[in-house]
């Protein structure tokens, strides 16, 4: 898994690439917590290059969402693949995340 962080004016953007499962999720957890620890409250996670996500990835996203919401911010998702969207829907978590079609719209939503 590869994660690229871009600091934008309104939010930090995390571009995630590859598989997010129980053996790789610690990298996503660390990247998200590092941004939040540094005071970022608005996050966009680009999932367009994530080809597979298990419940481990969902837990990391929900945990980060709870942290930023507590600080008055939000974590928004953009461009999940059909498979990732299916996992979000099956878990009933699609309603708690704002999901956008692309980076520009997601970052611009803040």
């Amino acid at each position: 898994m590869k994660i690229t962080v871009r600091e934008m004016k309104r939010a930090d953007l995390l571009e995630v690439e590859g598989r997010v499962d129980s053996s790789t999720v610690s990298e996503l957890d660390e990247a998200l917590n590092e941004r939040i620890d540094q005071g970022t409250v608005n996050l966009v996670v680009d999932l367009s290059k994530v080809d597979y996500m298990s419940s481990a990835g969902l837990r990391a996203l929900v945990s980060a969402l709870k942290r930023v919401k507590n600080d008055g911010g939000d974590l928004r998702l953009c461009a999940p693949s059909e498979r990732v969207r299916e996992v979000l829907e099956l878990a009933g978590l699609d309603s708690i995340f704002e999901i956008y079609e692309d980076q520009v719209t997601a970052v611009g939503s803040f």
Binding site: D21, R59, K66, G92, L93
Partner: protein, 167 residues
């Protein structure tokens, strides 16, 4: 006595035998594997089921569901049955063919009653979102059959997925 006239017959019998064998192999493939109950093994098993289910033309959606179920079930065994003890083992029996994929996972750790694991509630707000028990919930949602048989010779989880035409 000249048996040369039997040569074509023997050849045909061998050929038919090989064809029958090849058909049987193509119809139903069984793989048994025992791996350490560690996160590194999960990728090996998910890659294996993905590859074989794809070769058996199960359909991309069913292939993804088998991959997800294998991942979630192995992760549950490692975290819950063995409480992350790396000396534990998982035995996998994978049967693929006839438009069906059957995954059996046997662990020798703590048994649990899946009926007592409550399904996560549909989260309408972030306060409701409790991702505990998600793995089992996803498995039940994506597989056609899920059975759990605890026993003194191991706890067996049986998951079956059937071909989804056109998907």
């Amino acid at each position: 006595m000249n048996n040369l006239h039997l040569v074509p017959l023997v050849f045909i019998v061998i050929l038919v035998g090989l064809l029958v064998l090849a058909t049987l192999v193509a119809r139903r493939q069984e793989i048994v594997l025992r791996v350490p109950a560690r996160l590194e093994s999960v990728r090996l098993l998910t890659d294996l089921v993905t590859d074989l289910a794809r070769r058996a033309r199960l359909g991309e959606e069913a292939v993804f569901h088998c991959q997800l179920a294998m991942d979630e079930a192995c992760t549950n065994i490692i975290k819950h049955a063995y409480a992350n003890d790396p000396s534990g083992e998982i035995e996998m029996v994978l049967r693929i063919g006839n438009g069906e994929c059957e995954i059996q996972l046997v662990d020798f750790g703590e048994p649990y009653d899946p009926e007592r694991v409550p399904p996560p509630q549909k989260a309408s707000s972030i306060e409701d979102a409790r991702p505990g028990g998600l793995g089992l919930y996803l498995i039940r949602n994506v597989m056609d059959e899920v059975r759990y048989i605890p026993g003194p010779e191991g706890n067996r989880l049986v998951m079956v997925k059937r071909r989804t035409p056109g998907k």
